[in-house]
Amino acid sequence: MADIISKELKDIIADPNTLKVLATVDKNGVPHVVFKGSFHVNEEGNLVFYEVLESAQSNKNLVHSIWFDKKVAINILSADKQSFEIVGKPLKSITAGREFEKTYIALRESKGDIDLAAIWIIEPEQIKNETFSVRVSEDEEKYPILKHLDRLFVQ
């Protein structure tokens, strides 16, 4: 799939002040939402994050997703309140090898005594601007019927 994440959004995702939330579901459909600060975009335009806990619910749910070709969602909230939802599919879980070791070493240098369970690669399929002002404008234009009349009432 083509690189669908814009340069502007890549910069937002790369900003350490941006909040990045991963939403997954388990095998019974129970949702799970968790912040993943390590999200970034790789050279192929895929989302990457580092799962440091083997037992993390997100890790289990991503395994379920990659097994059954299910989608996950990521929401990005920038420091200036721009929000984007990215829906995609896990492509790969890297659990060993030179890339894994390089990341493991870098993580321990920057974060201290932590481990690394997997590097997850997620292919984005759909991006939606969820910034509040943008969504309000879209809603006003697309659904003129969906509003309270008092907002239109001329006193």
Binding site: E54, V63, W67, S93, T95, A96, Y104, I105, L116, A118
Partner: protein, 417 residues
């Protein structure tokens, strides 16, 4: 035995099994079938090997593979699990067509009848494979590696094979030792310790250490020499760590309570495995005659349960060669009958908090059972699926046998979710 060219018509296909069991992952069903049928590599796939990066089987270090002289040690799937393929199978006259690892659109893929099924990658070689021990021998002689685990074989010969008829009938280890002219049963602990110390310098490479080897029956009490050998090795390894216990696994013969307590108290070993191999008393006695004659089926189970008292619930597992209970002429003659007996025994063992780490039985050249037929794919999937249900029911998961530390027991993958 003449190859049955009609084998595909006589059992459910990969796609049919996937469709019949929609609650298990298709990629996992493929993994089980690759282990059952084996793989061959096209020239294009072999050309993708970079011997500077990848781990290549050269037929000298892996006792279970002797016939493929230049092939990737094994594969990694997209889900991060390891697909063990470093075993011999009769690739000149296989019971079923092996899968083919090929290159399509510059990607390494598993194929069957030309259909691309999954992308894979090759295992990478650890740094210590390029180093030599102080005696000048390559360190790869003293330890082997899986992508996240270092493996040490204490004894390369299994002494159940000292008495004709007592070797496990599915196992090629001892025959392969003879076939390759092996004479050195055990290596000097000094060089193994040097190798392990060097291996742990590679950060992020190893999350577990596994010790195993052939059975040693000698000693003041049966298995005492085997026990002492492992304790000596574990103590040498343990010197590298401050922690009281290290992520480690010993797969040994079934020690009694005294031996288990000695093992636990004198080493930093965390988990213990002893392989019962066959989940039926009568078939065990036929297939693993040495184990049956020297220890016995019920005693083997009893020692497993005793190990839980020593190592703790969740820290004991037992290997099973799943499918071998259907070998001829002493095995079950019907897959449904075999399934019912195996599940009954499995529940008894799992209920003690012991996980069953089951291999897919494949017929290995050199083994007594080398010309046998193995069960259908559906048999394996159905049985693994029930093992998983039982493992969840009794809350068992010794991580040492899982998808990334070991990789040889596909059923364990299901515990990932």
């Amino acid at each position: 035995m003449a190859r049955d060219l009609e084998w595909r018509k006589k059992e459910l296909s990969l796609d049919e099994v996937i469709a019949k069991y929609p609650d298990v992952p298709p990629i996992w069903v493929l993994k089980v079938d690759v282990q059952r049928r084996g793989v061959v590599y096209t020239k294009a796939a072999k050309d993708k090997i970079d011997p500077e990066i990848h781990q290549v089987n050269q037929g000298t270090i892996a006792g279970f593979r002797t016939t493929q002289d230049y092939a990737p040690e094994s594969l990694i799937l997209r889900d991060g699990s390891y697909l063990i393929t470093n075993f011999d199978f009769d690739n000149t006259n296989p019971q079923r067509d092996p899968y083919v690892v090929d290159v399509v659109d510059d990607k390494i893929v598993i194929t069957d009848q030309g259909k691309v099924l999954e992308e894979v990658s090759y295992w990478e070689k650890p740094d210590f494979y390029n180093k030599k021990a102080s005696n000048g021998e390559p360190m790869s002689k003293y330890a082997t590696a899986r992508p996240q685990r270092i493996d040490i074989s204490m004894c390369h010969w299994c002494h159940f094979w000292d008495t004709p008829g007592e070797g496990c009938k599915y196992c090629p280890m001892a025959p392969n030792f003879k076939k390759r002219g092996g004479t050195e049963e055990r290596y000097d602990v000094k060089y193994i310790a040097e190798t392990v110390k060097e291996a742990f310098k590679q950060k992020g490479r190893f999350s577990s250490i596994m010790l195993t080897g052939g059975s040693i029956l000698s000693g003041k009490e049966i298995l005492d020499d085997e026990l002492d050998g492992y304790i000596e090795l574990l103590q040498a390894i343990g010197e590298n760590f401050k922690a009281d216990r290290i992520p480690s696994q010993l797969i040994s013969s079934a020690f009694n309570e005294r031996q288990l307590e000695k093992l636990y108290n004198e080493t930093k070993l965390l988990t213990y495995t002893t392989d019962i191999e066959v989940l039926n008393k009568e078939r065990f006695e036929w297939i693993c005659a040495g184990k049956a004659n020297h220890i016995g089926y019920e005693e083997w189970k009893r020692r497993l349960y005793a190990a839980v008292d020593v190592f703790g619930r969740g820290n004991v597992s037992s290997g099973v060669v799943l499918g071998v209970e259907l070998a001829k002429p002493g095995g079950f003659t019907d897959e449904e009958d075999a399934y019912n007996h195996v599940i009954e025994q499995a529940e008894e063992i799992i209920s003690h908090g012991i996980t069953l780490a089951a291999n897919v039985w494949r017929t290995s050249p050199g083994a007594i059972f080398q010309n046998q037929d193995t069960p259908s794919l559906e048999y394996f999937i159905k049985t693994y699926r029930q093992f998983d249900i039982l493992s969840h029911k009794y809350d068992c998961n010794p991580y040492t046998d899982d998808y990334r530390r070991c990789g040889a027991h596909p059923g364990m993958d299901l515990l990932r979710v």
